[in-house]
Amino acid sequence: MAISSFFGLQTSLRGLLAQQRAMDTTGHNIANSATVGYSRQEALMAAAPALTIPAGALQSGSGAHLGAGVEIQDYRRVRDQFLDLQLRAQSMRLGYESTRSEQLQRAELALAEPGDNGIAKQVENFWNAWSDVANTPNDPAARESLIELSKTLAGAFSTVDDQLAMVGTQAAAEYDAIAGPGGEIHTIATELASLNSTIKTFVSAGESPNDLMDRRDLLLDRLSSFGQVSTVDAGSGSLQVLFGDAAEPLVDDITTNWPQTLTAPGGKLGGLREVSGPGGTIESYRAQLSSVARTLADTVNAVHSGTGGGDFFGYTPGSEGGTLTVLRDAATVRTSASGAAGANDAALAMTALRGGAADTAYRGFVGRIGVEVRETIRLEANAQALHSSVEDRRQSVSGVALDEEMTNLVRFQRAYQASSRAMSTMDEMLDVLINRTGRVGL
């Protein structure tokens, strides 16, 4: 069987086209080198189906395969699904830890300790005011000042309590904004469902919509910082997405299912819930602050009512921190049981409370918050380091390396140039055959 004279031209053409596509892909990579979530692509080249020459083509009498150049097999997205899973797990942890650390640091700021505006300073002033009253029990100025400082102290408790409560409410509001209808989760779910639908169309047609799949993976990465994410391959390129501990899948093929009830979603939502929820961190801080306020009020009241003058501080049981009030005024403060103008035994008993149960309880409270905040900061740094290391590994696989792309560009350009040289050589050969052959003697 004769082989077409123009066969070589076709081989060169295939080479030119394939190298050009490879260069296009390289250009795409370079253009997207800074795109978040982009995975580098490569044009997979494979030898084109060879020309089969029937038996008798070779000297031995057997047939042969004549190479026919190159063809693009696929445009592949370079990505390791296993690293995606690892990254999403770390991203969930980081979301959780950084939220907790941020919220607890705000709670810590509410204390304003150590400093002159914290409760500790006000308690100190309160004891000092009692001491001044003990020195001059019949001096209205000293009594007035005691009442004012007591009110300031009660106010300091209620300010700290309010600030703590506000950290809790704001965290709850943030949770609602993210998880509520129209929130970030909802938006992501909607986009995921529509990507599922588009990707499915292409995959059914046997195509691989790399850039859409990148976009979908990026959305899943973002979703995982809010809570636990897992995916199930629903076939033909569609993904079923499970979120947190929601009963139904968040995205099932092309339908979304949100809002749903979460109890322990993990991630940022989990962190916010744990801080603001019932029995959460803020609630326990407020309870401890209340217990400090109760200790103070009860010890002071015990001494003051011992004089027959009734309670000094009033509070609502269960929310002592926010409801501490001063029940006495300058006229009804008692410095002793006898009521003599200069008698100060009760006032002295009051100043003897300095550094006692209330102060110790408050120091314990500050210490607890300090230790917990320090711990969350450490955990956040830890999660950040782990997240970075997985992200690095993923970047190492999927990221665009410009030096590599430049090298590829040179490689493909050279192959292109050589292919076109092969073509022009072929052309010159055919020129000799067509235009010069049989012209002897003309």
Binding site: P114, S336, A340, D345, G370, V373, R374, L402
Partner: protein, 298 residues
């Protein structure tokens, strides 16, 4: 491992962030002079610092209390000095009046002077400090004696000042202890004795004046001296408490400084080495980020 541009940039950025965060922290420390800014910086040290600040607050209050207590002692001491002088004068008058050479007129004159001395003694004992009568017990709003009566107006209460944690020191003297309460039999304190002496002078009872009156006045005098001695001893205790408190204040302030304050030399050295590190990281980062194969391809 493939190293991509994204990785290099992220790492350079993360390193720079870390170094500059450390630098900022050191700079804040130097500027504020404080090692502790929030409880989480060092929960244990913050707890310690709260306790120490609390005790400095207490110490300073105790110092004020001591000053107040000493005010009471000084006021009492002044009054007692004056009373002692009056008693000595009364003693001289008694000796002169007891002699048989004194006639009724001069005895009347001496009795009148003793009446004046009694009024003076009552004025002295009615002394007050910061609006509080110091010899009235806890009834500080009432003078111990009125001009018209020798009966004691105050009570027997103790006025105390807290001079240390749980340490209260009585600072008052009850006037009736040495001046007595009227002329009731068995009282035999200074006012009673002086009144009796004046009466005996007017009655011309030289024998009693020479006899028991001299002894009674001497015992009354001893009462006053006893009270002065107690007062002096208390002044010494307050003095001792004051110097102990000021030593304690100094040592507690030193401890607070140890706990809270930045070791400025160490902080400055840290700052310089961190700054050098930051600059090195910037330079290295700039070189790595800028270099590319494109610089070398023709």
């Amino acid at each position: 491992m493939r190293i991509t541009n994204g990785m290099v940039q992220r790492r350079v950025l993360a390193d720079l962030n870390e170094v500059s965060a450390r630098l900022t922290a050191t700079q804040t420390k130097i500027a504020s002079g404080k090692e502790l800014d929030r409880p989480s910086d060092d929960p244990f040290a913050v707890g310690r610092s709260l306790a120490l600040r609390e005790s400095v607050g207490g110490i300073r209050q105790h110092q004020r209390n001591v000053t107040d207590g000493r005010g009471w002692q000084d006021a009492a001491e002044q009054a007692l000095t004056h009373i002692t002088d009056s008693v000595q004068r009364a003693n001289e008058l008694l000796i002169r009046g007891a002699s048989d050479t004194s006639d009724a007129t001069s005895r009347e004159a001496i009795a009148a002077e003793i009446d004046q001395l009694i009024a003076g003694i009552k004025d002295s004992v009615n002394t007050s400090y910061a609006g509080q009568y110091v010899f009235s017990g806890t009834a500080v709003d009432k003078p111990p004696y009125t001009r018209d009566s020798d009966s004691y107006q105050g009570d027997e209460g103790v006025v105390a000042r807290e001079v240390g944690p749980g340490v209260a020191l009585g600072v008052n003297q009850v006037g009736s202890q040495f001046l007595g309460n009227g002329q009731a039999a068995g009282d035999d304190k200074l006012l009673h004795v002086l009144r009796d002496i004046a009466d005996h002078l007017r009655a011309g009872d030289g024998e009693t004046l020479r006899g028991s009156d001299i002894g009674r006045l001497k015992r009354s005098m001893e009462d006053v001296i006893d009270v002065r001695a107690v007062n002096g001893a208390r002044s010494n205790r307050l003095e001792a408490a004051a110097s102990r408190l000021s030593e304690l204040e100094q040592s507690t302030l030193d401890q607070i400084s140890d706990t809270e304050d930045v070791d400025i030399v160490k902080a400055l050295i840290d700052f310089n080495s961190q700054q050098a590190g930051y600059q090195a990281a910037l330079r290295a980062g700039a070189n790595i980020v800028q270099t590319s194969l494109m610089d070398f391809l023709r």
